[in-house]
Symmetry: C2
Subunit: 244 residues, 2 copies
């Protein structure tokens, strides 16, 4: 692991509050690895031996069943993944593959489990992290069950704009076929839906999204902080989403 990695990892909520000595001990047993693009680094069902931290590149979490697969999330630096499997010492529920050349830190799950018994501040951080992850998946399930595909696309586009600071135009952060899978639809359906949304305030130009009529898009997307928001730190207002 490079020495310049440590501060970046240390800044993560998960590691921010633990004692320095404990952080160093955890990092001492961890190591970095670089994966080429398109490598399936985690296969669902395998035992969870390492907490993963993305430092560079990007990673797709996906699930498979009966010959089908779907994208569950895309992770970018700096973030951790598959914490829950590590904690429960259980098989991964999702697979992971790199979307580009990616540098990952691997933290042994057993050290992790030992550490939160030893360092209360770290335990509290793990609790907060897991609670946030849980709520994030619940939001996801809500969008899948309550919105149809057109509404999911519209709210996704609006949310991305807000995440980028309310800009009127931005580049999609992922390929469209991957976005389609993430949103629970086929690439063909996404393609047609994006076209149809040109009547509702957006315009596509390749991977560029241009919001031409935010009011109209908002009426369709009905953004909701209990779905599209994220758990902000107390005191921050966050996404600028309405209460309901």
């Amino acid at each position: 692991m490079r020495p310049e990695d440590l501060p970046e990892i240390r800044h993560l909520h998960l590691f921010r509050d633990m004692a320095q000595a404990n952080f160093e001990s955890l990092m001492a047993s961890s190591y970095a690895q670089i994966f080429p693009q398109g490598l399936e680094m985690i296969r669902q069902g395998d035992p969870a031996d390492f907490l993963h931290i993305v430092l560079e590149g990007s990673v797709e979490l996906f699930a498979q069943w009966s010959g089908r697969e779907c994208t569950m999330a895309v992770l970018r630096p700096v973030s951790t993944f598959i914490l829950a499997a590590c904690i429960r010492d259980a098989p991964y529920l999702m697979s992971a593959r790199t979307l580009e050349r990616t540098r990952i830190i691997l933290v042994p799950a057993s050290d992790l489990r030992a550490m939160f018994r030893h360092d209360t501040e770290f335990a509290v951080s793990v609790i907060n992290e897991l609670a946030a992850c849980y709520r994030s998946v619940v939001r996801n399930a809500k969008t899948l069950k309550l919105r149809n595909s057109r509404e999911r696309v519209a709210s996704y586009l609006l949310r991305q704009s807000l995440l980028a600071g309310g800009v009127a135009s931005y580049i999609l952060p992922v390929e469209k076929r991957l976005l389609a899978s993430y949103l629970g639809m086929t690439p063909e359906n996404l393609s047609r839906t994006l076209r149809l949304l040109e009547a509702d305030g957006i315009k596509m130009d390749g991977a560029r999204v241009i919001i031409t009529d935010r009011e109209k898009l908002t009426v369709l997307a009905q953004p909701d902080r209990l779905i599209d928001g994220s758990d902000e730190i107390a005191g921050q207002t966050g996404s600028g989403l309405p209460d309901r």
Copy 2:
């Protein structure tokens, strides 16, 4: 709270391992409440002030958006709910209503948050509980995205049979319209699907499910421990589901 409630609560994984004095302290600030049938006891968006424990009756967790609603889970004794919202001191993401007359213990969220900083064993229990909840929602999201409604129904029916010990016949634990919403479909669609599944090894008689051809149903349902399983305690085999 009744004195006979305490052992039941104490047996929950969440409270099993904490110091007795701490458990008593937590319970001392908690109180019981009885709700009539059909009462909306939690409204999504409200601040999370109490961890809830169902002691008698049953509770539906549901989500609302834009005039629609869907069932997210049904809880029965003895179990806790909305732990994550309490921990993050954030608004509830789901609403809750009683499905029958229900007795609930309310544990103040602030006491809860103070307690896991104070009692390491409790912190570890919270970590394990949250990780299990997270994995449970991920399984849910997987079934929604990877299976069509027929497959969701089939795997639900098979799973319930296995949970009841592999019985060939059992009563549905919830009303069909609620089951439909839980499975992400309309009551009409569920009704028709159940009828169609009579060609695939099941037979319905009111709320009774009769599995007439387990092999055939299994071929359709393709049960998968990474979706239909639950995080068993190490050493136990659990649901009897295949690895893939």
